[in-house]
Symmetry: T
Subunit: 72 residues, 12 copies
């Protein structure tokens, strides 16, 4: 595909999962893939999370940019 | 809501108001809330403004990211 | 237009062209102008590119934010 | 005081107020002044906020660093 | 004016006011407008402030860049 | 809780674990939760690690900020 | 010249040209060279531009710092 | 070893693995350890990844700097 | 010590000395070591200073983060 | 190639050319391609340049990272 | 002086000295103090230097911003 | 040399010395000059250090990039 003029769009999403960072990424990617467009790649931004009353990390929140090609 | 898998989207907008920084934020939030989706929170990026011929600040331009939950 | 409340939206796109940085910018701007909305300005982010087997730069990839006014 | 060896400590706090950015700053400064130590200055970091169901900004959250001198 | 070759200069100033962030911006803009040149716009950098003995914010210090066109 | 004036404090800690990034985060969160205060959330900063003589990653070091509400 | 005490000053300017990024740089450098002082080098900051009604990039705006030696 | 003059070199590599972030780190560290030199530590930079046609994350790409001591 | 789970805390301080940058660092480290806890390392942030009426640098102000291990 | 474990190395180079930014990029890429290894892509960092006595930009200096795959 | 409206200007200079970082700072501060205006403080930006043929650091180049109050 | 096409390479090293920041820089520069190539200049990145049991700074660790010209 290299050498052909084309254009991609990047959208910023936040995936949330109690199962870890990769799970939060996959959750966001799956959802964006269905809702927005077929994704090509992602880039992780901030990683944050919530802590429960007992000191357990109950969820990971991963801010990521997902990218897809704009069709003609 | 913590502990449930979910996904948010962030969109970058610029609010403009002659009445100050909070007014510019509220203007952008109100408009995005109506046009894009029901917002949950915002994050301020750059703050800029325009200066008139007489040296008065005639408007504040606030770049912000607004976030909302993507529904199933 | 200064002094009137209004709101802009910024979208992140990546333009790709074998002809140089300005060509990649113009490609992305033209496409976004047609697909998304009438643009007012752009801001260049990262500049990257692909290198062919023979060491030639075969394409420039320019990440940019394009901005347009949200109408009522 | 310039010219004398001394040391300051900086602490990161988040002030929250429904009344605007300066109010959130003052809330954080007042509280930190009482709880931590007598402050000398502050530096604003991120500015964020919460949006209600009806699209109104219901609170401003200002991340700031507050600084105070460590006594002997 | 778009489409004509021209050049702007940016100068970094710090406005100080006890009345809030917008007041500090306006103070710096007014002064720079008189002393340096007729300004076109400003961009806010850091926001800091001084805290009095009683925990009150006694002044806001806003670092901003002001821009003006260089005439021939 | 939104809409009520309140203040949070953020503290920077480094969690270390041989079991991966999430384990290092949980280790730091658990410890800070006991030693400092009941945490509400965390934000990941740098991720680093140590490499053993045989080229195995023997520990992950995650710099994070943990946040908790300052009570009256 | 290396090894001699000396001092340079850097000034931030914005060059604008419809002919591309290098043209905008050269425009700013030429103007600053005449108006401010004999320049030694430049450093590119942001690259932005304006888009016309028909989706054409009508001008490139390049923010750059230009540097020159302060004479005794 | 503290207190002795010495020098380290840092090299930037990208590890790729379908099995997660830690796996990508370990892959890069193992390879660099063999090819370049015996590593002492690593620092994670960007985290990116590729998305397949069906919306699955098929690989994680972790940019990291690896460091090793330069021997006499 | 590598391979054992443990946690460090980082605290931001500002050391001030008329004798130079290293002196300001040592001043801050000595003070923090006594007041806060036994430090393991430091990381320099901003370096600033005050200038007297006659143009002499009368003090160096070094912002640094100091780190120490949290004991059980 | 996606889905296979592999590792890339990034090297920072500075290309210099009197003919513009793309020429400086191509110069650096060609040279690095011959001297270091077969490159896959590049990422532009800083763009700087030298100004002659008569105010002409006599060369563009482009800092870029070039990347290539490490073979087994 | 706190509590009074006032305005400062910041100017970016580069001090060069063969005698070390503090000497380069003092050189820049002294020169700027005479040429530009009476300075109040400085902030260090980049620190660079030149290396001679024999591997000796022959000069330190310190980029700093110097600040002074604009009088009425 | 200005005006001639050429290419430089930058390498990241960490110099360590108990004698201060300039000594750590010189140590790294001397070593890199011998081991890697004849250096032209250096750029300081992070400055860190180790603290002994008694609160004394026992070594300075300076991360720097060193640059040298790639010969044909």
């Amino acid at each position: 595909m290299y050498g052909q003029d084309r254009i991609y769009k990047k959208v910023e999403v936040i995936g949330v999962s109690k199962d870890g960072i990769e799970a939060a990424i996959q959750a966001a990617v799956s959802k964006a893939h269905k809702t927005l467009d077929k994704l090509s790649w992602f880039e992780v931004g901030d990683i944050r999370g919530h802590v429960a009353e007992d000191g357990k990390v109950t969820e990971y929140q991963v801010v990521l940019k997902v990218a897809f090609q704009l069709k003609d």
